[in-house]
Symmetry: C2
Subunit: 222 residues, 2 copies
DNA sequence: GCCAAAACTGAATGTTCGTCAAGTTTGGAA
DNA sequence: TTCCAAACTTGACGAACATTCAGTTTTGGC
């Protein structure tokens, strides 16, 4: 077990088992964390559900927090793929920063998300990183096309993620009515520098329905 | 000790002592939490610094979290008062939602804030509640004056707080350069529905310097 | 002074995260 | 096939911490 696999393109058995364990851990952690919250999920319970010893978890994740981050990244990645599969069917530049509306609806309606919103800076950061490539590209394209007025797409996306997660939290805790969703989208679009009227108009644009979750997307890379 | 004080307007000795203890606890917690972070601050250390037994803390705050919230409210309240003292000297309606720029600078430069940004949903909520009255009033006034285009000031302020705290965190963690401050303010102003150009112009408006902290403001009410 | 209610105390409790020494598996080399 | 060392796994354990609670002290009206 000292040499790397002869053929680098073929995944060695070790690597395969490692990946299987890692995925099992993330899946277990996701189930428990979405059920009881990140805090209440204990490492022991996660390890048991994934069928590994308590100590083994730490061979895969340095800390509980790192595991939570991996879970959030997985969720974001899957949602990003589902959105991407639909929105890339039409090509008007402002694709609304990968369909903010869908993200908002998912975050507020999917019970699995509710428990995670209390780590809002972590989930916002995961959203920034996992969906950022799509969103930032769209912001840039739309700006080049003169539809948005954004000079620093990175920054606008960062602000958007935090505002959106904050709004989701406010809705799930009842501080904002669910009916505020429309206005939330409008205000996020306002950050692109188009005025209020243009934002209202853009938000009203119909969007294709998302496919049901179906077969889960492959686990996040990395 | 069974009767309430004869004269309700005069604060009884008990109430006074209670308040003193409460303030001492908040002050102790603030010192330690800003120094080491909310997580790393232990209830025992806080109790010792406030010169009370470990159990006494729970006569004043139901949990560590509630104590942390009280600390954040205090910080926000003090900052709000300092800003209010300056900005109410000029009366053009858009006062820039109580000087977002000052909040951002304080959050990113004051070392005492850095440790607290990791509870971003909590600090954003404290900001929403403690500075909300000023901010929301300004948003309404400016909208009535036709300077902003905001129909739901509450919502815009909620989004702003989350975005601003998220941006502060990104700066203190080095994910955004401190030089992005100007653009952050511009984008927050964009949420008021004025276009990008108007936002740039408004952000460039000079603002009066804040008085140094001097004698600390009186503790937050409640 | 007296006393009951309120407040305080700090040791004890019950949990949890993360570590570690000991044991097991793996896959190439002899 | 047998051997071996590296890599991985295990689960008991230590340390730390939030919170509780039985016992003690303080309070303030009488």
């Amino acid at each position: 077990m000292t040499k790397p696999p002869a053929n680098p393109t073929e995944e060695g058995r070790v690597a395969r088992r490692r990946r299987r364990n890692r995925d099992a851990l993330i899946a277990a952690a996701r189930d428990i964390m979405t059920d009881k919250g990140v805090e209440a999920a204990t490492m022991l319970e996660i390890a048991e559900r994934a069928d590994v010893g308590a100590g083994t978890v730490y061979n895969y994740f340095k800390s509980k927090d790192e595991l939570a981050i991996a879970v959030l990244e997985t969720l974001m990645h899957e949602l990003g793929l589902r959105i991407e599969a639909v929105t890339n069917t039409f090509d008007d530049p402002p694709r609304s920063m990968p369909d903010l509306r869908t993200v908002l609806d998912t975050a507020t309606n999917d019970v699995r998300w509710a428990q995670l919103l209390n780590r809002s800076e972590v989930i916002a950061d995961a959203m920034f990183r996992m969906m950022g490539p799509f969103a930032i590209r769209d912001l840039r394209l739309a700006s080049q096309a003169g539809r948005f007025h954004v000079s620093n797409a990175d920054l606008v996306w960062r602000l958007s993620t935090h505002a959106l997660i904050g709004a989701s939290l406010a809705i799930t805790t009842g501080q904002l009515p669910a009916s505020a969703s429309d206005q939330i989208i409008v205000r996020l679009l306002c950050m692109t520098g188009i005025g209020a009227n243009a934002a209202v108009e853009l938000a009203a644009r119909p969007r294709p329905a998302l496919k049901p979750e179906g077969n889960p997307a492959p686990p996040a890379p990395r």
